[in-house]
């Protein structure tokens, strides 16, 4: 192959590589554009402060879904955070513990299981015994989704910290648990917060695990044992509905949800840089 043809091929491949990138980014641009232009019109005072209007009537808002999103996700973060942090600390701080190998395997396995199956599981485990759909069961499903993410993030951050830090603590006569709680965790704070926030962002966008757990509820509710609404759930229900106004509000909810998730992701990145 002569030189000119090799140079030509080199140039052509540059075009192809950037073209491929453009093929990926163009739809993203379209999605963001549509979500923004269609959604911005739906975001008014009523949208944030009113419960939904009856089907087909028009008007109403997303208050129950907005509140529900926060309630369900924060409950999930409390449960998933506790278990994920515990598992992550165990794997990083007690490297020779016999539980670590199976625990790592379980974290990998859980991380690869589709989110909808978390919903099925929470349905069988919580909804059926408790006799009805509930926000709590939705939180359980989302917590399971969060656990592997938090576990992996925690383990990774703790691993980066030098062993000298632990040795310094032990040399001062601190017991191991104080070393972990007072030295290691504060030192790894930024990374741990990042893991928690990323897990939160991942779970907050999921509708599938909530379909038959939190189920949805048109009325404002703070009762964790009753059905509750959530933004992703509402987007799904409204998007497949025949009502013009609901569809308009679905775009609004999509914009709001996207903004919330982007903000969470941004905070996660910032926490990592600080920590």
């Amino acid at each position: 192959m002569n030189l000119r043809r090799r140079y030509l091929r080199d140039r052509i491949m540059v075009v192809f590589v950037y073209l491929g990138t453009l093929i990926v980014l163009l739809p993203l641009g379209f999605i963001l554009l549509h979500v923004f232009t269609q959604g911005i019109g739906a975001l008014n005072w009523d949208f944030f402060t009113k419960p939904p209007a009856p089907p087909g009537e028009g008007g109403g808002g997303m208050l129950p879904a907005i509140v529900g999103t926060f309630v369900i996700d924060l409950m999930a973060l409390a449960m998933g955070g506790l278990l994920g942090l515990g598992g992550g600390i165990l794997m990083a701080e007690y490297p020779d513990h016999p539980l670590n190998r199976p625990l790592r395997l379980v974290a990998n396995v859980l991380g690869g299981i589709p989110a909808i199956l978390m919903g099925l599981f929470a349905f069988v485990l919580v909804v059926v015994p408790m006799g009805g759909f509930s926000a709590f069961s939705g939180s359980v499903a989302l917590a399971i989704l969060m656990i592997p993410i938090i576990m992996r993030a925690t383990e990774e951050v703790l691993r980066i910290l030098p062993w000298e830090l632990r040795e310094a603590g032990l040399a001062l006569g601190l017991p191991r648990w104080r070393v972990t709680l007072s030295l290691i965790l504060p030192a790894a704070r930024g990374g741990i917060v990042t893991g928690l926030l990323l897990a939160l962002a991942r779970a907050a966008g999921e509708a599938a695990p909530l379909l038959f757990t939190a189920f949805g509820n048109p009325f404002l509710s703070f009762d964790p044992l009753g059905p509750m609404d959530s933004l992703p759930l509402k987007i799904y229900v409204y998007a497949i509905s025949p009502y013009e106004d609901w569809i308009r509000q679905a775009w609004g909810a999509a914009l709001l949800l996207a903004l919330l998730l982007m903000a969470t992701n941004y905070l996660a990145r910032r926490a990592m840089r600080r920590g």
């Binding site: 590589v17 990926v24 980014l25 278990l83 598992g87 007690y94 069988v124 656990i147 017991p175």
Partner: protein, 314 residues
């Protein structure tokens, strides 16, 4: 030594607490597999495991259930989506890690991560109101009319050009899995040692030749692992597919026509399932879906591990 370090009462309590938390995580995972399998026992008993797997009927009235249409739907949609997504994802990874100047690379990488951060329902919403009309009016109907005129035999393969169906679902799915394939490929490409590239340049290679002969072969483990993880995402993807695929469990599927996947049939029917056998059958489909994604993830894990051993990482 060991007993002294771990032996203090506070340490014992703390370790016990961590062990309890860790055991709970493991218990949850084990319980999950058990509950899905156990929940599906009625269906497996009524039709037999293989009978259920290979059964093509899904009829709540006649109480006949089989997972085959959904398994086929899942495999076709994920495989096609992956085929569509692979080259653009790889191109984006090469652009970010090799070709683009730093600022542009970072921007593109950020945007691709954003693609992964958008929720599935937002893709579904966009799919229904933007992609479906586009695909229907500018791809499906022209093709359908053309085939009606020139190749009537093709019409059955193409199916009804309504926009809602396999084609739209596959397109959105492809878009959604790009970031997973792309980010792993990007990481793998960044791990290729500089000396490898420089040696190739010193031989007089062009930039593309360096990418083609050195970077891609060196990074192939990570690239493959990314592809398989993307496949796993596609298999489990629920909401966007449910909103776009039309949810019909009737074999044979056509290119434009409605279809269903394992995840979409669960999302679509579970809340309204009547009767124990339908519920049990849906749980059984969930069990099969779990087995499928487990298998795919284990393969990805295996490939990643082999790559990292070969290159002496970790």
């Amino acid at each position: 030594m060991r007993s002294k370090i771990y032996g203090k009462p506070g340490d014992r309590v703390f370790t016990a607490l961590l062990v309890v938390l860790g055991l709970t995580v493991m218990l949850v995972a084990a319980l999950m597999a058990w509950e899905l399998g156990f929940g599906g026992r009625e269906a497996f008993r009524a039709f037999g495991f293989w009978g259920f797997l290979r059964g093509t009927a899904w009829d709540a009235v006649a109480e006949q259930f089989g997972a085959w249409p959904f398994l086929v739907g899942t495999l076709i949609t994920s495989a096609v989506a992956l085929a569509l997504a692979f080259l653009p994802a790889l191109a984006a990874a090469i652009a970010v890690a090799e070709y683009a100047p730093r600022w542009l690379g970072e921007l593109v990488a950020y945007l691709i991560d954003l693609l992964a951060a958008l929720p599935s329902v937002v893709y579904g919403l966009w799919g229904i109101f933007v992609l479906v009309p586009l695909v229907r009016d500018h791809v499906e109907q022209p093709l359908f009319l053309w085939s009606a005129e020139h190749a009537p035999a093709l019409m059955g393969v193409l199916g009804p050009p309504t926009g809602i169906g396999m084609l739209s679902a596959v397109l959105v799915l492809a878009l959604m899995i790009v970031p997973y394939a792309s980010s792993l490929a990007r990481d793998a490409i960044r791990l290729v040692p500089r000396s490898q590239r420089e040696a190739m340049y010193a031989l007089g290679a062009t930039r593309w030749e360096v990418v083609r002969r050195v970077v891609l072969p060196y990074a192939r483990g990570g690239i493959f692992a990314g592809v398989i993880l993307a496949l796993a995402r596609a298999i489990g993807e629920t909401m966007a597919v449910t909103m776009l695929i039309g949810n019909s469990g009737q074999l044979p599927y056509s290119v434009f026509g409605p279809a269903a996947t394992m995840a979409s049939v669960i999302a679509n029917e579970f809340a309204e399932a009547e009767g124990g056998l339908q519920l049990s059958s849906l749980l059984a489909v969930g069990f099969l879906l779990m087995l499928l994604s487990l298998a795919v993830n284990l393969v990805a894990d295996f490939i990643l591990r082999r790559m990292s051993v070969g290159e002496g990482r970790k």
